[in-house]
């Protein structure tokens, strides 16, 4: 038996549970929807609904996340072979971390992590 088969079953059951909850909401609740009813919530002010403008800071955070997250995955590879690689692995990883840290300091100095 493929070891991932049970995961697939749990995935199907989980999605099914979510679908059942959504379906319940759809079929059991009272039906008629009015115009006022379906307005997005905006504290009583006539709603404009707006989702095209967002601060560029969030994009920057996303880009930095991808960089650093991939570095973390690299660290896992080294960590799981820690004993076999010995001092050679340690020296390599120190070089790697120094380069990573230089990039990190550059990012901090340029103010990419400042929120105002």
């Amino acid at each position: 038996m493929n070891p991932y088969l049970p995961v697939l079953i749990v995935l199907v059951l989980g999605v099914g549970l979510g679908c059942i909850l959504s379906a319940l909401a759809h079929f059991i609740g009272p039906r008629p929807l009015t115009k006022v009813n379906t307005d997005p919530f905006e504290c009583g002010v006539p709603a404009t609904g707006e989702r095209d403008k967002m601060s560029v800071k969030f994009y920057l955070t996303g880009i930095l996340f991808i960089l650093f997250d991939i570095e973390t995955v690299f660290l896992y590879l080294w960590a799981s072979a820690f004993k076999q690689l010995g001092w050679f692995g340690i020296s390599e990883i120190i070089v790697f971390l120094v380069i990573l840290f230089a990039g990190y300091i550059y990012v901090v100095k340029r103010g990419a992590l400042e929120w105002d």
């Binding site: 609740g29 929807l33 996340f65 896992y76 960590a79 001092w87």
Partner: protein
């Protein structure tokens, strides 16, 4: 076909494997789905206790009030009978997809958590987790990243300002804290030399001074902080800062869909608590009683030992669940720039230094 043949068929390897898989899936699902109602109840009674008021104590069965334990059930029934309102201009597909994402990601992580030592049944070895992987760590990190989609899809699709702001904040926060989360677990891999979660529990042993929390205390602190940030819980619950954002990313969700978000949030809290107990507190190992001694104590039946181990894991996880509630009603909410500053400027460097120090100490101990 006679009874004997049927029994013989049940004892074949494939049959045992399938039955074991079904039982394991049922155990994980039942336990995970029991957590949210109980937690909702605790989360209302505990602050009531702290603030010297009563909290919900009326709903019960007939004349037995049971301290309001049935309140969550009543709430669920109420939510299901509420009107479902999809806001005008919402992206329909993403809007309906978000709560489903919220439910299944948490359940998937639960699959990788070992809730007992390997059992030997009819000469076949069965690992007590739904899926037994030698790369359990990577599986968990990969699946937990999916949780971001819940927030992003929900907030973006609702066509509402508050929901969008809440989801932007929450997704930026969740991806930022994923880096320290990943880094806090690397020293654990270095120390125990494996990515297999059950192997980590076995090598921690039964004595608390050999557990992960003693060997890698800084990792544990980083992991604990990330647990709160990843589940969007106080003091990091800026995603739903009521005072400024109404309800954050799920402002436009109501009725049973809202319940689905609740379910997902509590299940993922529980799963992260289980993970913290597994990695840092010896998982299913009963304190001071090594597994072999435990098996002897219960008369050689290893399935009784497995049930005890399971209970121990649940108790350890319950402690972390209590910490969630405790912290929520103790600490005020962070400001957003403080939150991001903590993640990027404090926890990331600390995680790196922690990793280096751990590696050097381990090298000095092992390589000579």
């Amino acid at each position: 076909m006679g009874l004997d043949e049927l029994l013989a068929l049940l004892k074949t390897d494939t049959a045992i494997e399938i039955i074991a898989a079904v039982i394991k899936i049922l155990v994980v699902l039942v336990v995970c789905l029991q957590v949210p109602p109980v937690m909702v109840w605790i989360e209302r009674r505990a602050p009531a206790m702290m603030q010297r008021r009563k909290g919900p104590n009326r709903v019960g069965i007939f004349q037995w009030r049971l301290y309001g334990l049935i309140q969550s059930l009543a709430d669920t029934v109420k939510l299901v009978f509420k009107q479902e309102v999809v806001p005008r201009g919402a992206n329909k597909v993403a809007y309906h997809l978000a709560p489903i994402f919220g439910v299944f990601t948490a359940l998937l992580i639960a699959c990788a958590i070992p809730f007992g030592n390997d059992l030997v049944i009819f000469g076949q070895k069965i690992g007590l987790s739904v899926v037994r992987l030698d790369v359990g760590f990577l599986f968990i990190l990969a699946i937990s990243s999916l949780a971001v989609y819940t927030v992003t899809l929900a907030g973006w699709s609702s066509n509402s300002k508050y929901a969008l702001l809440g989801s932007l904040r929450a997704s930026a926060q969740m991806i930022s804290y994923e880096i320290p989360l990943g880094m806090s677990l690397v020293p654990i891999v270095v120390i125990f030399g494996t990515l297999d979660l059950n192997q980590i529990v076995v090598s921690q042993g039964a004595y608390p001074w050999a557990w992960g929390v003693v060997r890698a205390p800084v990792s544990f602190l980083l992991f604990l902080i990330c647990m709160f940030a990843e589940t969007n819980r106080a003091p990091f619950d800026l995603a739903e800062g009521e005072s400024e954002l109404v309800a954050g990313f799920h402002t436009e969700y109501n009725s049973a869909k809202f319940a689905a978000f609740f379910l997902g949030e509590y299940v993922s809290m529980f799963v992260l608590s289980c993970l913290a107990s597994t990695i840092f507190f010896g998982g299913w190992q009963a304190p001071f009683i090594p597994y072999d001694t435990l098996v002897k104590l219960v008369g050689g039946y290893n399935w009784i030992a497995a049930i005890i181990g399971f209970t121990v894991l649940i108790l350890k996880a319950s402690f972390f669940m209590w910490v969630y509630v405790w912290v929520r009603w103790t600490l005020p909410r962070f400001r957003y720039d403080q939150l991001m500053g903590l993640g990027w400027k404090f926890m990331l460097p600390v995680g790196l230094v922690n990793l280096l120090v751990t590696a050097l100490v381990m090298a000095a101990l092992e390589f000579h």
